[in-house]
C-alpha cells in the first residue's frame, strides 16, 4: 500500500498518496486547479503560472504543479488572492493574444477560451497595439501562429520527451519569445502532429484541417486506424460525409494520446479522386463500367465456370470479411487454395507456445509493453513500422525506467533509449541473444518483441531462449497492417482454418497459386500483382478493391469496395487485441467487401449465411465468437470501445513452415503499402522522399 498523507485543501481534510503533486491531489479530490503548461507524463515546467495556490506559512503563492503534497499541508486554491492572481495571469496572456476566436481553429475547444470564461476578467485594461507576427508554414501539415502562443512549452516537451525527436525549441525572450522549428523556417521531423494536438490554444494548427470547419459542426467517430498493425484509435471528425480531421484528444484508445502521421493525416485516401465507385467488367479487353447487377452476375458466372479457384485475402479488411472469405472459399467454391500476404509468422509462434495457459498469457498486449520492466526487441524498426510501439517503449523507458535490449541488423532510432544494443548479421539474431543472457536473467519479466526477421524454426529457438529466463516471458510478433493478425486468426491461410485449426485439406500458398494453372482468382483488397507476375487473360480474375491497383487493372470483374472508415466490423492488431471498427461515413457507389461477397455467394447459390446487408457484420461476428477458438471475447467490452485480447493459444498448430513467404513491406512513417500511395498527405511532407528503413530490416 502506498503511504497516504493528510492535507487540507480549502478547509477540507483530504488524503493523497505521498509524493503526489498538489495539482493532481486536488484533481483526485474533485477540485480543479487550472493549468496550461502542466501535462501528466511530461516534465514539469511551471511556466504558465495558472496553478498558483496559497500555502500556509508561505509568503508567496506557489505553483501546485511542482509542489508535492506533504503531511499536514494547508492549502487554499479558491480565495481572493488566488482569484486575483489567475485574473492577472490571464490578463498577461491576453496582452498579445489576438482575439480571433471566431475564425481560429481552436475556437470552441480552446483551453485559453475556457480559462478566461471561468477565471478571467470581464474587461481588458490593455489599450496598446498588439505585437503581431505573420503565421508560418513549417510543413504541409504543421502551421504556427506565434501571436496565439502562450508559451506553455507543451509542444517542445512532447517532441523532446514523448517523440524523442526534439524538433521544436524556444527562441528569443520575453514578449518576443516564440517557438521555432529545428530547420530555421521549417520542420524536419516525424510530422506526427503531436504538437498540434497538445497545443492548448490555436498556435499550432494542422495543414489538413485549418480554417475548414468549427469543432461543434462535426460528428466524432473513434475507430482503429487503417494503416499499420498497432491498431491505434483515431477519432475521425466527420462533416457532410467528409473526414475533416483525425486526432485523438480524448485519449480513449490503447494509444493514449499518441498518433503518428498516418493516423492523423492518412485518412485522405477515403476521399481520393482515384477511388473507384462503379463496378467494371472486361469487354473486348477493356474494363467497362456497368451496374452492380451485371458485375455480380459476371463474377458469379466466371467463378462458376472455372474448375479450380485461388482466393487471396487482405490485411486491411475486417475479421468478419476475412472469416466470410475463407468460408466462401472452403465451403462455397470448395477450394483449399486461400492465402494472403504474410508479414509475421503467427502460426509458428502459437505452435511454439502450445500448451501454455491462457492466464497469465505468454502473449503480450500493447499495454504490457508500457508496463514491462524489460523489453527485448529483435529486428524491425518500430519508429517507422510500429510508431505506437516505439512511443510506448520511449514512455516506459522515460517514466518507468524500463530496460530495452535491441538486436538488429542495423542501428535503429530506438537505440537511443536502449540499455544495450547489438548489431547482428542476417539470420544470426537468435545466436546474438546469448550476449544478453546474463543481463536478461537479472530482469524480472521480459517482453520479447520480434519483426518478420524472426520466423519459422527461429521462433522455436527464440521461445526456448525465453523459457530459460527466470521471469514470466511474453511475446509479440510484429505484422505490417491493420488486420494482418486478423487475417491469420481468421484462417486466410492454405494450411490453417480459423483459430489456428488445421484446414480440412491443405491448399496452395500465395506464390504457388499465382505460379500455377488455376482457372479463376478471387482477390479481395490485396495487390499481389505488385510482387508477382499474374498473367492476364489466362485465368478469370475477380478483384474487390478501392483503387485501380496493378491487380485491379488485370481484373475481369472489378468491384469497388468500401474503405475501412466506411464500415463496421472488428479488426485485430498485431498484439492480438480485437477492436470494433465503426462506420464513419459512406462513400457513394462502394459496397463493403462483406456485402459484395454475400452478393456473389447468393448469385452462385451458396448458403453461407449473412444475407442481410445491414446486420451481416454483426451476424458474422457472432459466428466468429461461437466458432473461432480464442475469439469468444466479451462483446460488451468490445462494443463500448475497448480493445479485448483474443486468446489464440490453443495447443499445437500443425502448420507448414514457409519462412520465405514472410516479409515486411518495410513501410516508413510516410508509406503504407498500396494504400499509402493514395494518401496525399503522407507523400506531401518533405521527409517522405528521404526516409528509408535501414538496410536488411524486415526480410
Amino acid at each position: 500500500m502506498p503511504e497516504l498523507v493528510k492535507f487540507k485543501l480549502n478547509d477540507k481534510e483530504l488524503t493523497a498518496e505521498k509524493g503526489t503533486l498538489l495539482i493532481e491531489a486536488a484533481r483526485q479530490n474533485g477540485v480543479e486547479i487550472p493549468a496550461f503548461c502542466y501535462y501528466p507524463g511530461l516534465s514539469l515546467q511551471a511556466a504558465c503560472r495558472m496553478c498558483l495556490v496559497d500555502i500556509e506559512k508561505r509568503p508567496k503563492l506557489a505553483t501546485a504543479c511542482t509542489e508535492p503534497v506533504m503531511e499536514g499541508m494547508v492549502v487554499w486554491s479558491d480565495n481572493e488572492k488566488i482569484h486575483t492572481a489567475r485574473k492577472t495571469t490571464l490578463e498577461f496572456l491576453l496582452t498579445n493574444h489576438p482575439l480571433d476566436c471566431p475564425v481560429c481553429d481552436k475556437g470552441g475547444e480552446c483551453e485559453l477560451q475556457d480559462m478566461v470564461f471561468r477565471y478571467g476578467a470581464g474587461g481588458s485594461r490593455f489599450v496598446e497595439e498588439k505585437l503581431h507576427v505573420p503565421e508560418q508554414k513549417w510543413s504541409p501539415v504543421v502551421y504556427y501562429d506565434a501571436p496565439r502562443c502562450i508559451l506553455c512549452y507543451r509542444c517542445i516537451r512532447i517532441c523532446n520527451e514523448g517523440m524523442g525527436v526534439g524538433a521544436l525549441g524556444l527562441n528569443y525572450r520575453g514578449v518576443n519569445s516564440e517557438i521555432v522549428p529545428n530547420k530555421g523556417d521549417h520542420l524536419e521531423c516525424e510530422e506526427c502532429g503531436m504538437c498540434i494536438d497538445i497545443c492548448p490554444v490555436g498556435a499550432l494548427t494542422s495543414g489538413a484541417y485549418r480554417y475548414q470547419t468549427r469543432p461543434w459542426e462535426m460528428t466524432y467517430v473513434a475507430t482503429p486506424c487503417a494503416h499499420c498493425g498497432d491498431g491505434c484509435k483515431v477519432t475521425l471528425s466527420v462533416r457532410n460525409n467528409q473526414i475533416m480531421r483525425g486526432n485523438n484528444r480524448d485519449a480513449s484508445g490503447l494509444n493514449g494520446e499518441f498518433l503518428c502521421i498516418k493516423g492523423r493525416y492518412g485518412y485522405d485516401f477515403t476521399h481520393s479522386a482515384e477511388r473507384i465507385t462503379k463496378p467494371r467488367v472486361r469487354k473486348n479487353d477493356e474494363l467497362v463500367e456497368c451496374t452492380w447487377t451485371e458485375a455480380i452476375a459476371a463474377a458469379a458466372a466466371g467463378l462458376k465456370a472455372a474448375k479450380t479457384h485461388g482466393v487471396i485475402g487482405s490485411t486491411h479488411t475486417t475479421n468478419e470479411e476475412n472469416f466470410f472469405l475463407q468460408k466462401f472459399a472452403r465451403q462455397g467454391l470448395k477450394t483449399p487454395h486461400i492465402d494472403h500476404r504474410r508479414s509475421a509468422d503467427f502460426p509458428a509462434l502459437m505452435d511454439a507456445l502450445a500448451g501454455r495457459p491462457a492466464t497469465p498469457s505468454a502473449l503480450a498486449t500493447s499495454r504490457d509493453v508500457l508496463e514491462a520492466p524489460a523489453v527485448l526487441l529483435i529486428g524491425n524498426n518500430p519508429t517507422d513500422q510500429h510508431p505506437m510501439l516505439a512511443w510506448n517503449i520511449r514512455t516506459a523507458v522515460r517514466l518507468r525506467k524500463q530496460h530495452l535490449y535491441i538486436v538488429n541488423r542495423a542501428s535503429i532510432p530506438l537505440v537511443a533509449q536502449a540499455e544495450a544494443a547489438k548489431i547482428a548479421k542476417a539470420g544470426e539474431e537468435i545466436e546474438e541473444l546469448e550476449r544478453f543472457r546474463d543481463a536478461l536473467a537479472k530482469e524480472k519479466d521480459v517482453v520479447i518483441i520480434f519483426g518478420s526477421e524472426v520466423k519459422g524454426a527461429d521462433i522455436t529457438k527464440l521461445v526456448a531462449f525465453g523459457d530459460t529466463l527466470p521471469g514470466h516471458t511474453r511475446y509479440i510478433a510484429l505484422a505490417d497492417n491493420a488486420n494482418s493478425r486478423g487475417a491469420v486468426d481468421m484462417g486466410v491461410l492454405p494450411d490453417l482454418g480459423p483459430g489456428y485449426q488445421p484446414a480440412a485439406q491443405a491448399g496452395m500458398a500465395l506464390d504457388e497459386m499465382l505460379a500455377g494453372n488455376l482457372e479463376a482468382f478471387l482477390i479481395v483488397g490485396a495487390n499481389p500483382a505488385r510482387r508477382y507476375l499474374i498473367q492476364a487473360g489466362k485465368a478469370f480474375v475477380v478483384v474487390q478493391d478501392m483503387f485501380l491497383t496493378e491487380t485491379a487493372q488485370i481484373a475481369d470483374v472489378l468491384l469497388p469496395s468500401a474503405g475501412p472508415y466506411e464500415k463496421g466490423g472488428t479488426v485485430t492488431n498485431t498484439y492480438g487485441e480485437v477492436q470494433r471498427q465503426k462506420l464513419g461515413l459512406l462513400v457513394n457507389g462502394a459496397k463493403t467487401d462483406l456485402e459484395i461477397l454475400s452478393l456473389i455467394a447468393r448469385a452462385m447459390g451458396f448458403d453461407l449465411g449473412a444475407a442481410n446487408a445491414a446486420t451481416q457484420s454483426n451476424e458474422v461476428f457472432e459466428e466468429i465468437r461461437r466458432s473461432v477458438k480464442g475469439y469468444n471475447i466479451a462483446a460488451a467490452a468490445l462494443w463500448t470501445g475497448s480493445a479485448v485480447p483474443a486468446v489464440t493459444l490453443n495447443g499445437a498448430v500443425p502448420h507448414r513452415d514457409r519462412p520465405d513467404l514472410i516479409a515486411s513491406s518495410n513501410d516508413t512513417l510516410f508509406t503504407s503499402g498500396t494504400l499509402g500511395r493514395y494518401c496525399s498527405a503522407l507523400s506531401a511532407v518533405a521527409e517522405a522522399k528521404e526516409r528509408k528503413n535501414p538496410e536488411g530490416i524486415g526480410k
Binding site: 526534439g166 524538433a167 521544436l168 525549441g169 524556444l170 527562441n171 528569443y172 525572450r173 521555432v180 529545428n182
Partner: protein
Amino acid sequence: MTFSAPLEKRFARMLQSYPQKRSALVPMLMYAQDEVGSLTDEVIAEIADRLGVTVLQVNEVIGYYSMMHKKPLGQYHVQVYTNISCMLRGGFKVWDHARKTLGIGHKQVDADGRFSLEEVECIGSCCWAPAMQVNYDYHHNVTPESFDRVINELKKGGGQ
C-alpha cells in the same frame, strides 16, 4: 572545426568541469565568439556536437542572451545602458550622443567594421550610472564628453 590551441585546451578542461557536459554551453559560446568574431553556423554545429545537444538547443540559448551574436560585431562593441538607474542619471543623453557620434544605430556596425553599437539594459553598475561597456571594459559616470574621450582613445588604437 578546431579552435586555437589555447582555446582547445580551455575547452578540454571545461568539459571535465561540470557534472553534465552541456553545462559548458554558455562559456564555450562566449569564448568561441571572442575568438571567431561571431557565432557562425559552423561554430554552432561544432559546439552542439561536442556537448551532445542539438543545433536547435544551442540556438535557443543564443536567442535568449543578448551578448551572443550570430553576425560579426565591430572591433569595438559599444554598449550603452539605459535602464532605470542609468536613465535617471542621463543614460539617454549618452545614448543619443553615441548614435550621433558613431553614426550608427542600435545593433548596427559602422562601415569599416570598427565600431558597433547596442542599447542594453543593465550591468549592475547603478551606483556609478550612467554606465557603458566597450567589449569587456566598463566605463562609469559616462557623459557625452567622457564618451568622446573613450572613443578617441580607441580610434588611436587603445583598449583591448
